[in-house]
C-alpha cells in the first residue's frame, strides 16, 4: 500500500475548478517533485495535503490512516492527529516576526504538544546546529537573509517530527545566490530519508532530489516517472513541450 494515497480529489474555488477527480500515490521512501505550468494546481495540491484547503470531494490517506475525506459545502472531514504528522514550508517563509529564531522553533512544541521548554530548546539548538544556524538562535526574522529565514522555517517544521514534508516553491522568493543553501538543506533531509512533496521551478534541483517527478497540467497528472526517464525521455508530447520551454528559458 502506498504511503500517500490521493483518490478522486475535487477542489474548486467558487466556479473555478482546479481538480475534478485527481489521483496520485506516493511511496514511503519517495520524494515527489511536482512540475507543470503555473496555475496547474501544484501549490493547491500541497495546500490540500496540509489541510489548508476545503476539498469538495475525494479522499487522502496517509500511512495507515484516513486523513481527509472531502465533501461539498464545507463539510470536509479532517483527522487532526494525522494533520500533525505533516509539515509544510511556504514560499514566503511565514516566520513569526515578533519571535526570535528559537521562539519560532519552540512555539508549537511547547504550546501545543506539551513538550518541556528546556527539552524543546535543546532540540531546537540541535537542529540549528545541524543547519549551520546556531549563531542565529537569538536573532529576529527581520535580521536574517532570505536563505536563512527559509532554513529556519524548515527547522521549525522539523521540530514536530513530521512523517511527511511539503515544500511549496520555497526558493522562488530568494535571490539566486541564496537558493543553493536552502536546496542543500533539503538535500540533507532527503539523504536522511524524509519523504517529501516538492513544488519547484528549478528543473536542475528537481532532477537531483526527486525519486519521482510528476508533470501535471490543468488539474491532471500527465506523466509521472523517475527524473532520469521524465527528463531524459518524456513519453508525452505535452511533457516534451513544457520541458522544452522551461529548459530553453533556463538556458
Amino acid at each position: 500500500m502506498a504511503f500517500v494515497e490521493i483518490d478522486g480529489l475535487i477542489k474548486r474555488y467558487g466556479t473555478l475548478s482546479i481538480f475534478e477527480g485527481f489521483d496520485l500515490n506516493m511511496g514511503s521512501t519517495d520524494r515527489l517533485v511536482l512540475i507543470g505550468p503555473s496555475g496547474c494546481g501544484k501549490s493547491t495540491l500541497l495546500r490540500c495535503m496540509m489541510g489548508l484547503e476545503d476539498i469538495a470531494g475525494g479522499t487522502i490517506r496517509l500511512g495507515d490512516d484516513d486523513y481527509i475525506d472531502g465533501a461539498p459545502n464545507g463539510k470536509m472531514k479532517l483527522n487532526r492527529q494525522v494533520q500533525k504528522e505533516v509539515g509544510m514550508v511556504f514560499q514566503h517563509y511565514t516566520l513569526f516576526p515578533h519571535l526570535s529564531v528559537l521562539g519560532n522553533l519552540c512555539l508549537a512544541p511547547v504550546r501545543s504538544r506539551g513538550i518541556k521548554k528546556s527539552e524543546a530548546r535543546d532540540k531546537a539548538l540541535g537542529l540549528l546546529e545541524r543547519f549551520g544556524l546556531a549563531d542565529r538562535a537569538n536573532f529576529y526574522p527581520s535580521q536574517l537573509s532570505g536563505g536563512q529565514k527559509q532554513r529556519v522555517a524548515i527547522a521549525r517544521a522539523l521540530m514536530l517530527d513530521p512523517k511527511l514534508m511539503l515544500f511549496d516553491e520555497v526558493t522562488s522568493a530568494l535571490d539566486p545566490e541564496l537558493v543553493v543553501e536552502v536546496e542543500n538543506t533539503m538535500m540533507e533531509l532527503a539523504e536522511a530519508g524524509m519523504p517529501m512533496m516538492i513544488v519547484t521551478h528549478d528543473m536542475h534541483f528537481a532532477r537531483n532530489i526527486a525519486t519521482q517527478v510528476v508533470f501535471q497540467e490543468r488539474g491532471k497528472v500527465i506523466e509521472a516517472a523517475p527524473p532520469k526517464d521524465l527528463f531524459g525521455n518524456p513519453q508525452q508530447d505535452r511533457t516534451r513541450d513544457f520541458l522544452r520551454n522551461v529548459l530553453h528559458i533556463e538556458g
Binding site: 509544510m88 511565514t94 529576529y140
Partner: protein, 221 residues
C-alpha cells in the same frame, strides 16, 4: 506695535496648571479609550451581526461628527438624559474617552486586518490550536502594528483636548484665553500657548514616525 513677553513670567504658574489639566484630560482619555477601543474592535470583528452593527455604527458616528458637537452633547444632554448630576470634568472626560475609543478601535482593527493570511496558514501547518494562535501569534503582532497608530491617536487627543475649554474646563487653552482677555495682550499670550502646545505635540509626532520606522522593520519579516 510693540511686543512684550516679559509679563508672561507672572502667569507661568497659571499656565503650568493649565497644562497639567490638559495632560490630565489626555491621560485619562487615552487609558479609558484604549480599554473601550479594544472592546469595540472585538465588536467590530464579531460574527454576531447585532454586535457588529451596533459597534460599527458607534465608531462611524463618533468619527463622522465634530468632537465639539460630541462634547456639547455629553456636557448638556447626557446629565438631562440620565437624570443625574455630572461635573463638567466628568462629562469632558467621558466625551473625550468615547471619541478616543472610536479612533482606537479603528487602529486595533486595521492592525488585525494587516496580518497576512499566510501567518494563519503557518499556524495550521504547525498544528497550533486556535487559542495558542490568537494569544501567541496574532495578538502580539496586532499590538506591535497598532503602536504607531495608537501613538498618533495620542497626538490627536492632545490637540482635541483644547476643546474642553469651550465647556469651561481650565485647561491650557482656557487659561490662555482668559489671561489674554484680562491683560489685553492676546499676541504674546496666545503665541506662548501655541508654542507650549507645539513643544509637546512636535516631539510626540516625531516619536510616532520614529517608532513607526522601527516597528515596520521588525514586523515586515
Amino acid at each position: 506695535m510693540e511686543l512684550d513677553f516679559s509679563f508672561l513670567l507672572e502667569y507661568s504658574g497659571v499656565l503650568w496648571r493649565g497644562l497639567l489639566t490638559t495632560l490630565q484630560f489626555v491621560g485619562l482619555a487615552v487609558v479609558l479609550g484604549l480599554i473601550w477601543g479594544f472592546i469595540l474592535s472585538m465588536g467590530r470583528t464579531s460574527k454576531n451581526l447585532f454586535i457588529y452593527w451596533i459597534s460599527t455604527l458607534y465608531v462611524e458616528f463618533f468619527r463622522g461628527t465634530p468632537v465639539l458637537v460630541q462634547l456639547f452633547w455629553i456636557f448638556f444632554c447626557l446629565p438631562l438624559f440620565l437624570g443625574v448630576d455630572m461635573s463638567g470634568f466628568t462629562s469632558a472626560v467621558i466625551a473625550l474617552s468615547l471619541y478616543s475609543g472610536a479612533i482606537t478601535s479603528e487602529s486595533f482593527r486595521a492592525a488585525l486586518k494587516s496580518i497576512e493570511a499566510s501567518q494563519f496558514d503557518a499556524c495550521t501547518a504547525l498544528g497550533l490550536p486556535n487559542g495558542v494562535r490568537t494569544i501567541f501569534v496574532i495578538l502580539p503582532q496586532a499590538v506591535l502594528r497598532a503602536v504607531p497608530n495608537l501613538l498618533s491617536n495620542v497626538v490627536s487627543l492632545f490637540k482635541e483636548s483644547a476643546l474642553v475649554s469651550a465647556v469651561g474646563m481650565a485647561d491650557l487653552m482656557y487659561v490662555g484665553q482668559n489671561i489674554a482677555n484680562n491683560v489685553a495682550r492676546p499676541i504674546e499670550i496666545l503665541s506662548a500657548v501655541a508654542i507650549i502646545y507645539f513643544c509637546i505635540g512636535f516631539p510626540l509626532t516625531r516619536a510616532v514616525s520614529m517608532v513607526e520606522g522601527r516597528l515596520l522593520k521588525v514586523v515586515k519579516a
